[in-house]
Amino acid sequence: MLSLIVFLPLAAALALMALPRLGDGAARWAWVAVAAADVALVAALWLAYEPPAAGRLAFEERAQWIPGVNSSYHVGVDGLSLPLVAMTTVVFLACAVFALRSGDRPRTQAALFLFLQSVSLGLFVAADLILFFLFFDLSIVGMYFVIAGWGHGDAGRSAMKFFLYTFLGSLALLAGFIGLYVAADPHTFDMVELAEQTPLEGSSTAGAWVLAAILLGLAVKTPTVPFHTWLPPAHTDAPAIGSAVLAGVLLKMGTYGFVRIAMPMLPEAWRAWAWVIVVVGIVSVVYGALVALAQTDFKRMVAYTSVNHMGYVVLAVGAAGIVADDTVQARSVAVTGAVTQMVSHGLVTAALFLIAGVMWERAGTYDMGAYGGLADRAPRLAALFAVGAFASLGLPGLSGFIAEFQIFTGSIAAAPVTAVALLGILITAALFLRALQRIFTGATQGASVGFGDLRPAELWAIGPLLALSLLIGVLPRLLLDVIEPAAQVLVQLVGR
């Protein structure tokens, strides 16, 4: 079942490449159909899901790959990965619908995004470090071609910077993986076995180095301050659906790595260095928000809010490593909030980047100062933008609130100093309200003149993402019931 979900898009991508005679229209709709089928499969998976035993995975599949180094094709899901798998299929479906209107080599574009979808899903279900690394690297390759091939502005340069920077991170990650492999006895790359063994327990220096390598790799991907400098140019020059996937899905690979690899496999080192992680999280939150506040380019602003939002996740998982007997419950809440934030940010940021794509397509500029009074011309766009902005800044009733509320409840209980990061929420609220005001209110002027409202494909791409955010905000139990058991297990693994 999992393999089908992961490789269905890849098979479709190969079929699209092998059938050059297929018309552009057919290719676009085939992409939508496959992405929708994957959503349906994941929905079925979600309904059949039962939380697995502590330290185990549900829907496991395992086949030999390179037995010589104990690396296998091992996949499975639990409460940490299933929500991300579901979010990934939804974001890719939204991109497929949005791209129904795109005219630039639609067949190749569809194949590339289907490839990226397989890679992203594969990463979230991987239960083997080498399998994880394979998908991690291929996501970089795929996104490079998306930015270089369909981007605008200085796309070649931004794509190159993105590739070099994140590839550096991925190799740091690989160094850490090899360190884990060598330290394990018997040597293995299997995540489940490594989490059981915690191979570097007791050797604090080696553990610190391996954790440092893994953290560097994940921090570049997430990205946290000071490794975030590749993000703004990559987003600014990427096509709308490329940005949506990059921010919505690819960034989660970094934060997912924290909860899937770093915390359960290196609990001792994680506890020892938890303060550093908390500080990096706080700095990312505040710095990301402040820099976003200074932007005049709407897309760059959303890109920097990603640094801020990922900062909350880092903060929460760091706080989960500050172990005290009376904070077990609080740390578990923080981790639950972190995973919820990953899902919430994926949905909301993808929607905001698609909105940015609509602006670029109509007016050719992201400069907020060039717009004004757009609500008059495009009321549907204005409504969706408002919902997205409120979800992003954490208004109750939307998913961002559920996530950030839990993150702060848990983190402040475990480490009161994290309250400093509340400043980030304040700044984010200010910058989104300011953006709303500059673009949509006032007299219709500049780029807003002659701006057409959302077309059906755009509406049906952006709308459902925000509707899901609303659903999570109103009925959070649907999501939290899946995440909470896994978060408790994780907190217990870190505390051992």
């Binding site: 390179i66 180094v69 690297d137 390759v141 070099l164 190799l171 690989l174 090899i178």
Partner: protein
């Protein structure tokens, strides 16, 4: 004697002779017959070697030549690699003067490589070195271009120097141990004066490094890759390394602990990979870029050599890397021979849009050389790095990964223009007639193979660690 154990080498040598003699009696338009003869010899040699592969390790020629899994893998990889080179030749040198001589020299040099790979005696190493090198001098100069002549001269002079160094080393080692056979050297080297052993081994390793094209004996590689024809360039950056690196592995494996040999080889490895990467940065000729890239690849290949015998992963990972590197490097060169007119990175602008399959093959090959999963070089790089770390050389593993990041930049300089919009004026017209069909198939086939071998690396690994 048991000459039957050397059947693949004998078949290749006889095939070379047949191509040479047959070529003298055939009209220029019918020289393809010699190509067919050469291809048949390579196929037979590969088949014989593959049939031998599951058998137990044996020695031939009074214990001077080992036929084990390592030799077997080297035979299969080298023979099939040369077969791909012949496919490139079908486009580039079919119907040219000295066609059959090229095939003969290719086969002789391949034979020399295989003798190096199986050598279990220092004198056999010398024979293999000469048989692999001498045809190469001729091959590099055979195109008779000014650059080719310069490259041939440079290779010849360096080859002569390092050949003499190799002989000196063998003499020194013989002088202190009274034997050249590996079986006896193992014990006697430990008791011999460390200084003389050090000088002798360094000299022999120097000769092998020339053959492999690693620092500090690499100066001929970029010139030869640029100056020689595409066929020859593909051959000389790929096949001779197989024998040389395996010979180095066998030598390092039997060295005593009296000196820090792993450290020395590790430093040579780091020197090769770093130098090759830095020098490749600003190259504009794709073949010269690949030439420097192979220097850095030798550095990665020397990593398992450094930890020979110190990790169970070392030998299988070396063989896996060699096989993967051969396939991937040939794929990249095949793309350059498919477009003989494109001699600058700039001229590849828009190539991927005009030729999607060849563009994809080049992307797979170059990302493969970087070590991106799921290509087979990735598995090679992963396992060699794990071997180094496993043997206690974590710093070497880290340097391999750092160098990998550094190498990405220049490979990307070649990938980036492939999908840009502007097709350089004029190229489109020329390509229609000159896109080599054989090279095209070879490039796509080897690129696909590098993916398949990466995905099926488990089976490969099982074969290599027999």
């Amino acid at each position: 004697m048991r000459p039957a154990l050397l059947a693949p080498e004998i078949v290749l040598f006889l095939g070379g002779l047949a191509a040479l003699l047959g070529g003298s009696f055939l009209a220029r338009t019918r020289q393809w017959v010699t190509r067919a003869v050469a291809a048949a010899a390579l196929l037979v040699a590969a088949a014989l070697a593959a049939l031998d592969l599951p058998g137990p390790a044996q020695v031939a020629m009074e214990g001077t030549f080992t036929v084990d899994t390592t030799t077997g893998v080297a035979r299969v990889v080298a023979a099939l690699g040369t077969l791909v080179v012949l496919a490139l030749a079908s486009d580039e040198i079919a119907g040219t003067p000295r066609e059959s001589e090229t095939y003969a020299l290719l086969l002789f040099s391949t034979t020399g490589t295989l003798i190096l790979a199986g050598a279990n005696d220092l004198l056999v190493v010398t024979v293999g070195f000469l048989l692999a090198s001498v045809p190469l001098y001729g091959l590099i100069g055979i195109a008779r271009t000014p650059l080719g002549a310069e490259a041939a001269m440079k290779t010849y002079l360096l080859g002569a120097l390092f050949g003499i160094l190799l002989l000196t080393g063998v003499t020194l080692l013989y002088g202190v141990t009274a034997t050249t056979s590996y079986a006896e050297l193992t014990d006697r080297l430990a008791d011999a004066p460390a200084g003389v052993v050090a000088a002798g081994v360094v000299a022999v390793l120097g000769g092998l490094l020339f053959k492999a094209g690693g620092a500090p004996a690499h100066f001929w590689v970029p010139d030869a890759a640029q100056g020689a024809g595409g066929t020859v360039a593909a051959f000389l950056t790929t096949v001779p390394k197989i024998g040389a690196v395996i010979a180095a592995y066998r030598l390092v494996e039997l060295l005593p602990d009296t000196l820090a040999w792993p450290l020395l080889v590790a430093l040579l490895a780091v020197a090769s990979m770093t130098l090759g990467n830095l020098a490749a940065y600003w190259q504009t000729d794709p073949r010269r870029l690949l030439g420097w890239s192979t220097v850095s690849q030798v550095g990665y290949l020397l990593v398992p050599v450094a930890v020979a015998g110190r990790s169970d992963l070392a030998l299988p990972s070396l063989l896996l890397y060699l096989a993967g590197y051969t396939v991937t490097n040939l794929s990249a060169f095949a793309v350059t021979t498919a477009f003989p007119q494109r001699r600058e990175l700039r001229s590849y602008r828009g190539m991927g849009r005009a030729h999607p399959w060849l563009g994809a093959a080049l992307v797979v090959a170059l990302l493969g050389l970087v070590g991106t999963p799921p290509t087979v070089v990735f598995v090679g790089k992963l396992t060699t790095t794990a071997a180094a770390w496993d043997a206690g050389y974590a710093w070497l593993a880290v340097l391999v990964l750092v160098n990998t990041v550094a190498s990405l930049f220049y490979y990307l300089r070649w990938i980036a223009p492939l999908y840009t919009h502007q097709e350089t004026a004029g190229h489109h017209q020329q390509d229609a007639g000159t896109e080599g069909r054989w090279s095209r198939s070879a490039a796509i086939g080897t690129a696909a193979l590098s993916l398949l071998l990466g995905i099926g690396a488990g089976a490969l690994w099982a074969t290599f660690s027999l």
